[in-house]
Amino acid sequence: MLTFLARRLFVMIPTLFFISVLVFVIIQLPPGDFLSTYLNELQAQGEAVDPAKIAFLKQQYGLDQPIWLQYIDWAWGLLHGDLGFSFEYNLPVTEVVGDRLWLSMVLNLSTVVFIYIVSFPIGIYSATRQYSWGDYGFTLLGFLGLAMPNFLFALILLYYANVVFGTSIGGLMDPEFINQGWSFAKAMSVAEHLWAPVLVIGTSGTASMIRRLRANLLDELGKQYVVTAHAKGLSPTRVLFKYPLRMALNPFIADIGNILPQVVSGSVLVSVVMSLPTTGPMLLTALQSQDMYLAGSFLMFLALLTVIGMFVSDLLLAWLDPRIRLQGGVSQ
C-alpha cells in the first residue's frame, strides 16, 4: 500500500510538468502577445506609441526572450508560489485573483457534495424500485436536468426569485461585503447566497450521477453474491448496503477526478449570468486578452484540481476495493 501511494505521488510530478508545458504552449499559440494586442488597441484609438517605450515594456515583461526561457521563468515562479504578473490589471496575479480562487473552491466543493448527497439516495431508490412511479418520476426530472442548459436554469431562477420573492440571488454575497475583509458576517452571507449557484451548477451533474448509480446498482443487484447474502438471512436493507451498494461505489469514486474540472469549466457561463466572483469569467477575459500569466495560472489550477481529484479517487478505490489493492501489480 505504501509503495502504491509513493508510486502514485511520483507519477503526479511528470504529469503536472507535461500539463504546464502544454498550458504554456497553448497560451502562446495565437499570434502575438498581450503587448501587441495592447498596441493595436492604442493605435486604433489614434494614439501615438513610442517604440522605445514598447521595447522597454517588452524587456520589462521578458517578452523579448525565447519562449523556453519564458517558460522556465514562469514554471520556476509557480514552484515558489509566484504566479506571475497580470498585464491587464497591472498587478501580481495573486492579488488579481484574490478571493476568487477560494470562493471558486468553496462553490465547486459544495456543488460536488450537493451532487453526491442528492444523487445517492435517489439513485438507490430508483434502482431498488425499478419501473415504479417514483423511478419514472426521478427519471423524468433527471432528463429535464440533463437537457436544460445550466445558464438557462440560472436565468429562470434569477427571474422568478426577483418576481415572486422580490430578492436578488445573483452574486455570492451581499453587495456591502464585496472587497471587504473576511468576517463572520461575510461568511454567513456567502453561505446564504451559495445555494442558488450550487443548485444551478449541480443539477446536470446530479442527474447524470443518478443515472449512473442506478445502472451500476441494477447490474450488481442481479449478481450471485447478492442472492448468497439473502440466503444467509440478512435483512434486505443490510444486504443492499453491505454488498451491492459497496460494489456500485467504484465508478462513483472513480468519478471524483472527472467531476471537479467538469464542475469548474461548466460553471463559467453560470458565473457570468449570475455574476459570481469566481475564476471562470476571469479566465475567459484573460484568454481573450492574452493575459498569459493570469490565464496560465487558472489553467494550472484546473489541472492541479484534476490531478489531485484523480489521486484522491485512486486512493479511495484502493482503500475500498481489495482487488485493486492486492492484485494491482499482477498483469499478463
Partner: protein, 646 residues
C-alpha cells in the same frame, strides 16, 4: 422418523407483463431427517425455482399460487412452519433462511462478495443467527473452515475470495452455509462448475459434513452420476412437474417413466460396447449428399496417390504410422509471462501453459484431449490454430497439397491457406454466434472470407449443411436467439464444416448442454465422422464423453501430456497417477460403480511435484514420454527406455 420438509402440490407462476407462466405445477415430495434427496432435471425444468421457493428467494415476478412447504425444525419438535405462507423478507423467514435451511450455489467464483474477507462473510452468518460475540464468531468460523478442509483456517479468515481457487471458494461457501448447523442444506448444482477431482472432494466433503452435523441435503443437479453417488432418494422433474420419485436404487434399476429412462440412456458411461450408441430424447438423422460427399472423394483420392516415403522420420516412430497423419505436434512449448513486483524493479515470471507437448492426429481419427481447467488444453488448441505463436516446437500439418507443412514461423499470409483446413467449434454456443447475423450469413461467412464458390454454390452448400446437422433449411433467415443451445451448437458445427476442413477442433462442445442434448450432439458428431471421414481433435474435461467419442485419448495436466493411449487401454489400464486420480474421481451414473470416497485424496492430484517417482516432475527430474505398451505412452522417468514420440 419425521420428515424435515414436506412439499405438497406446490405451484409457482411467473407473472410477466402480458402473461403468466407456470414454472412449477403440483410438485410434491418430502425430505426425511438426515436424508439426501436429489432433484433431477434438465435446464428449464423448474428445479431451481423449487429450491428458491424453499429458501424464500423467488424473484419478484414469481408467485407461489398454491400448495404448501411445511418445514418441521428438528430443534423445535412439534412446530411446523409453512414457508409458502411466510413473507419472503419477513423476520420469521429470515431466521429460517441461513439459520435452519441454508444453500450453496453453482458458481463458486461469483457467489462470494469479492470485497469482503471470507472471515467477514462467515462471521456475519454466525452473528446473524446465534447470540455470540465477535471473537466467539471468529472462533466458530475458524472451526468451520478447518472442518471443510482449509489448510490454514486462521489465516484463511483474512483472505479475499479472489485469492482462492475455485475448489477452496466452494469449500468456503459450504463453511458459510454450515456454520449455523442448519437442519437442511439446499445444494444447487454444487459441483457443476468444478473440475472432476475437485468435484469428488467436494461431494465427499458434503457427505462428511452431513454425517457430522446430522442434517438433510436437497441436492439439485442434472448430473445422474452425482445422484447415483450421493442421493438416498431422487425426484425427477420435467417441465415443472414431478414425473418420477423414489429410492435411487429403484429409479436407476427400474425407471418407470419414459423420461427418466431416456435420461439414463443419454448419459455416456464407461462400459459401453464399441458400437453401442447413446439414445437422446430426439435423434438427428444427418442427410449427406452432393457437395460435402464430393469433398470426401477428393480426400480418398489424395490418400491413394500419396507416397509412403514422405512421412517425416520423426513420425515414423509411431506404431500406427501406416495411417496418414493430418497433424503432428512436436515438443511444443508456450509460456505466459506475469509481471510481479513494483514499478521500479518488476520481474517477469514465465508460467508455462504448454510444455513439451507432442501429439499426432491421423486422418479419419478422433483424438480426445482430457484435462482439468487451467491445464493448457485450450492454449494448445489455439497454438494448433496458430491463433498464437508457440515459443518453441513444431506443428506439422498436411495441407491441400498432401505435404506435411511446418506451421510454426509462417506469417499471416502464408498461414491463410491452412486457416481453412483447420476449423474450430467453441464451447459456448451462445457467445460464439453473432446475434446480428442470420444463420445463412453465419454459415456462409467462412466461404465469403476465403472467396470460395459463387452465390449458387454457397446457397447449395448452406442448404446441404443444414440438412447435415439436422436443421430445417427454412430456418436459414432466422437469427441465433431463436434457437436452443443444442441447435446453436449444430449451427456452429455447420459453420465449421462449410470449408470442408481436414481437421476439426472441438473445445468442450457439449459442456454447456443438457445430457440429452449432449447425447444428440455426440451422436451427430460420430455419424458425421463416419460418413464424411472427418478428423477430430476433441477437447473435454468429461472423461465419459471423451471415452464415447474418441479413438485415442491424451491426458493433459499442468501443460504436459502425461499419458496417451487408445481408448480401451487408457481406461482399463491407466498407469499415470494423475490418470488414475481422474478415473477414481468420475462419478458414474451406475450404482455398481460407486465412487470410492476413501481413494479420493485431498489436495491437488494435479500437482506434478507430488506425483510419486518415477512420475515426479520438479527441478531435478523432467521425465519424457516413454512407451509402456503398443501405442500406450506415459510421461515417466525410466532409465532403460528411450524417449519415443507419440
Amino acid at each position: 422418523m419425521t420428515d424435515i420438509l414436506r412439499i405438497r402440490d406446490l405451484k409457482v407462476e411467473f407473472v410477466l407483463p402480458h402473461m403468466r407462466v407456470k414454472a412449477v405445477e403440483n410438485v410434491s415430495f418430502r425430505i426425511g431427517a438426515q436424508e439426501t434427496v436429489a432433484l433431477v432435471g434438465e435446464s428449464g425444468s423448474g428445479k431451481t425455482t423449487i429450491s428458491q421457493a424453499i429458501m424464500g428467494l423467488l424473484p419478484k415476478s414469481a408467485q407461489i399460487t398454491g400448495g404448501s412447504i411445511i418445514f418441521a425444525d428438528p430443534k423445535k419438535p412439534g412446530t411446523r412452519v409453512d414457508i409458502a405462507m411466510l413473507d419472503r423478507s419477513g423476520s420469521e423467514m429470515r431466521a429460517i433462511r441461513g439459520g435452519r435451511i441454508s444453500m450453496i450455489f453453482q458458481e463458486p467464483m461469483s457467489s462470494l462478495s469479492p470485497l469482503h474477507t471470507i472471515g467477514d462473510q462467515i462471521c456475519e452468518a454466525v452473528r446473524l443467527h446465534r447470540k455470540v460475540g465477535s471473537s466467539e464468531a471468529r472462533e466458530l468460523a475458524r472451526e468451520m473452515l478447518a472442518l471443510v478442509g482449509f489448510p490454514n483456517p486462521k489465516r484463511s479468515l483474512k483472505t479475499y475470495p479472489f485469492e482462492l481457487s475455485g475448489g477452496l471458494r466452494q469449500r468456503a461457501m459450504i463453511a458459510m452455509a454450515m456454520v449455523c448447523h442448519p437442519a437442511l442444506l439446499v445444494a444447487d448444482e454444487p459441483t457443476t462448475a468444478l473440475d472432476v477431482t475437485i468435484q469428488a472432494q467436494t461431494l465427499r466433503l458434503i457427505k462428511d459434513v452431513q454425517a457430522e452435523l446430522q442434517m438433510s441435503v436437497l441436492l439439485i443437479t442434472h448430473d445422474l452420476g452425482v445422484v447415483a453417488n450421493m442421493a438416498d432418494r431422487m425426484v425427477v422433474v420435467y417441465d415443472g412437474r414431478v414425473v418420477e420419485s423414489g429410492r435411487t436404487e429403484d429409479v436407476f434399476i427400474n425407471a418407470g417413466h419414459p423420461y427418466t429412462r431416456s435420461l439414463l440412456a443419454a448419459v455416456p458411461h464407461f462400459d459401453m460396447g464399441p458400437n453401442e450408441r447413446l439414445r437422446p430424447l430426439r435423434d438427428i438423422k444427418p442427410k449427406i449428399d452432393g457437395l460435402l460427399a464430393y469433398c470426401d472423394d477428393k480426400k480418398t483420392a489424395v490418400t491413394a496417390t500419396m507416397d509412403e516415403g514422405e512421412v517425416p522420420a520423426a513420425l515414423a516412430l509411431h506404431p500406427t504410422m501406416a495411417s496418414e497423419p493430418v497433424l503432428a505436434v512436436r515438443h511444443l512449448n508456450k509460456s505466459f509471462s506475469v509481471r510481479k513486483g513494483n514499478w521500479f524493479n518488476s520481474e517477469e515470471q514465465a508460467i508455462p501453459a504448454v510444455a513439451d507437448v507432442s501429439l499426432t492426429v491421423n486422418r479419419g481419427e478422433c483424438v480426445g484431449l482430457v484435462g482439468e481447467s487451467g491445464c493448457g488444453k485450450t492454449t494448445l488448441s489455439k497454438l494448433i490454430m496458430r491463433a498464437m505463436a508457440p515459443d518453441s516446437g513444431s506443428i506439422l500439418f498436411r495441407g491441400e497439397s498432401g505435404q506435411m507443412t511446418e506451421l510454426v514461423g509462417l506469417d499471416e499470409d502464408q498461414l491463410n491457406p491452412y486457416r481453412k483446413r483447420i476449423q474450430f467449434v467453441f464451447q459456448d454456443p451462445f457467445a460464439s454466434l453473432n446475434p446480428r447475423m442470420t444463420v445463412q450469413d453465419i454459415i456462409t461467412e467462412p466461404l465469403l472470407i476465403h472467396g470460395i464458390g459463387d452465390a449458387t454454390y454457397r446457397k447449395k452448400m448452406v442448404l446441404e449443411l443444414m440438412e447435415v446437422v439436422g436443421l430445417d433449411p427454412r430456418f436459414l433467415n432466422r437469427y441465433p436467439h431463436s434457437f436452443s443451445g443444442g441447435e446453436r451448437q449444430r449451427i456452429g458445427i455447420a459453420r465449421a464444416l462449410s470449408l470442408k476442413p481436414d481437421l476439426l477442433i472441438f473445445d468442450e462442445p457439449t459442456s454447456a448442454l443438457d445430457v440429452s442434448v449432449q447425447a444428440q450432439i455426440l451422436n451427430l458428431l460420430k455419424d458425421l465422422q463416419r460418413d464424411l471421414k472427418l478428423t477430430y481433435l476433441f477437447i473435454s474435461h468429461n472423461l465419459a464423453v471423451v471415452d464415447y467419442i474418441a479413438d485415442r485419448i491424451a491426458v493433459m495436466c499442468a501443460g504436459r501430456i502425461v499419458e496417451s493411449a487408445p481408448r480401451e487401454q487408457l481406461f482399463r489400464n491407466p498407469i499415470h497417477p494423475y490418470t488414475q486420480a481422474l478415473l477414481n474421481a468420475v462419478p458414474f451414473a451406475d450404482l455398481e460403480h460407486l465412487l470410492d470416497f476413501t481413494k479420493i485424496v485431498d489436495g491437488k492430484a494435479s500437482d506434478p511435484h507430488r506425483w510419486p517417482a518415477p512420475f515426479t516432475i520438479d527441478a531435478q527430474s523432467d521425465p519424457r514420454m516413454v512407451q509402456f505398451a503398443e501405442d500406450h505412452f506415459v510421461r515417466a522417468a525410466r532409465a532403460d527406455s528411450q524417449e519415443i514420440a507419440i
